[in-house]
């Protein structure tokens, strides 16, 4: 194509902007994600799953919420200086997620890895909507996300989670407790109200996205056995993903 005196290159390649339309099994890899409020024990379960998959010889990669090397400093700055509004809170987390999707999750799934994510789009759907963002807008914002093979939701009563969290540390962080929403001046009370809203959103998402519910009050071993059974059933046809023996 010519434009004025310039020879213009051919058509621009289309980005894979809506990979979820192609369904997860369009890629050789598998994607398992864990969701739930803080203190639900999901990270413990995911790390046990990681060890097990690794011992079975799979190429396992772990991706954590808010961990993009390009974006996390900006998120940290926003939180530290309390610069974030519900909209920019939502967007900066989506930016972090986009970087991990483009640079790691998507190419790894194409390469045949088993990718494990601690928190996924559902975290954003729950938190951002609890902060007042439009439900539909947030879902569209994450339209570029790959649909997980299985999304586990760790269901726990709010009081149980709060008990677990307060055992392990001094108090709650500003945004984690939803202090930006002026629900209460007391961080613990604010946390309770905010996380209560988040649980409501998660509960609505169980049928909407077909989340797999795990009773997070059961013994750790019982939960892990159940999770491994489910994951294994999705790996039967993916034996080729094992990089050893």
């Amino acid at each position: 194509m010519r434009l004025g005196p310039f020879e213009v290159l051919g058509p621009i390649p289309r980005a894979v902007s809506r990979p979820q339309k192609r369904a997860h099994n369009g890629f050789p890899g598998r994607l398992f994600v864990v969701e739930g409020i803080d203190g639900s024990g999901k990270s413990t379960q995911l790390s046990l799953l990681y060890k097990w998959l690794e011992s079975k010889g799979y190429g396992v990669v772990f991706s954590q919420w808010n961990s993009s090397p390009l974006v996390k400093d900006t998120t940290k700055l926003g939180k530290k200086k309390k610069l974030l509004t519900p909209a920019t809170f939502s967007l900066i987390h989506a930016t972090d997620f986009a970087d991990r999707t483009e640079r790691s999750i998507l190419p790894l799934l194409k390469a045949g890895a088993v990718v494990l994510c601690d928190r996924y789009t559902y975290t954003a759907f729950a938190r951002d909507v609890a902060r007042g963002m439009d439900r539909q807008w947030v879902r569209e914002l994450y339209g570029f996300a790959v649909q997980p093979t299985v999304a586990f939701y760790f269901r726990v009563r709010l009081e149980t989670a709060i008990g677990r969290l307060l055992d392990g540390r001094d108090g709650f962080k500003f945004y984690e407790a939803g202090m930006d929403l002026d629900l209460s001046d007391d961080p613990e009370e604010s946390f309770r109200l905010f996380q209560g809203r988040i649980i409501e959103e998660y509960e609505k998402m169980i049928p909407e996205f077909g989340l797999t519910v795990i009773d997070a009050t059961l013994p750790i071993e019982t939960q892990q056995t159940r999770i491994r059974q489910i994951v294994e059933s999705h790996l039967v046809k993916a034996a080729g993903l094992r990089i050893w023996p």
């Binding site: 290159l9 400093d73 640079r103 807008w137």
Partner: protein, 287 residues
Amino acid sequence: MRETYGKLLPGMSLSDLGGKLIVIEGTDGVGRTTQINQLKPWLEEQGHAVLDTGMTRSPLAGEGIRRAKEGNNLGRVTQTLFYATDFFDRLENEIVPALRAGFIVLTDRYVYSLMARAMVRGVDPEWVRSVFSVALKPDAVFYLRLGIEQLVPRVVFSRGFDYWESGMDLYPGYDMYDSICAYQAALLAEFDRFSEEFKFETLNASAAPQSVFSHLKIKILRLLEMDSPARLPSMLASRAYAPAVQEARLPCAAGVTAVDFDWTEGTIAADPGHSNGNIHGPVQEVS
């Protein structure tokens, strides 16, 4: 009443946003910054409070974007969202409060540039529109347009080849000249499409900067008097505004519509001999 392009951000009330939101858009190298640097003191001279803002100037994300662009591993969706974060930080914390306080907000680029950059990178247009649908509709968008033949040399000879301005993330392996031609031509095509959809007022940026400035002044004066059209004749006839009107009557390069000013009626109309009539937007009737 002000509007957005779709949804409303939580806590954002549109009812008391006085002020004027004026956007200067265009590809790289068209002289947006030069114009804004002249418009701001000019408006302040007339007694208007002015906020000027532009891409990557947010306290939240500006520095992060600059750092991310130092490498070459910023993906296209990530890029779009990082810029969106920067934009919405400025929208909520600068633009909206300024409009509420009755300021004129001059913004160097707006969501259109961000949308164009994402779309030429092959990001799903529907998705891009949805992300930016919570943006405020501006009062006016002045699109400084330069053909590709002039645009490329202006960018290259003023700043040299820049990795991102040359679209090298899109065309790895090509040399920077081929890449910048292809990239800027694609952007230009996107802007031209937006120009109709979003009713841009197009100005020919190949004219001398002073001529472009004069045209911008006339258009902005009209905009500022929309609320009280009865004042337009006396205002335009006043000493302060006469030079702008005079300058705008100077001959300018093809493509830029000459402005005819009827001193007796006090109306400005697009000269039908030069334009398709809508370059200036709907002609204001003054009673």
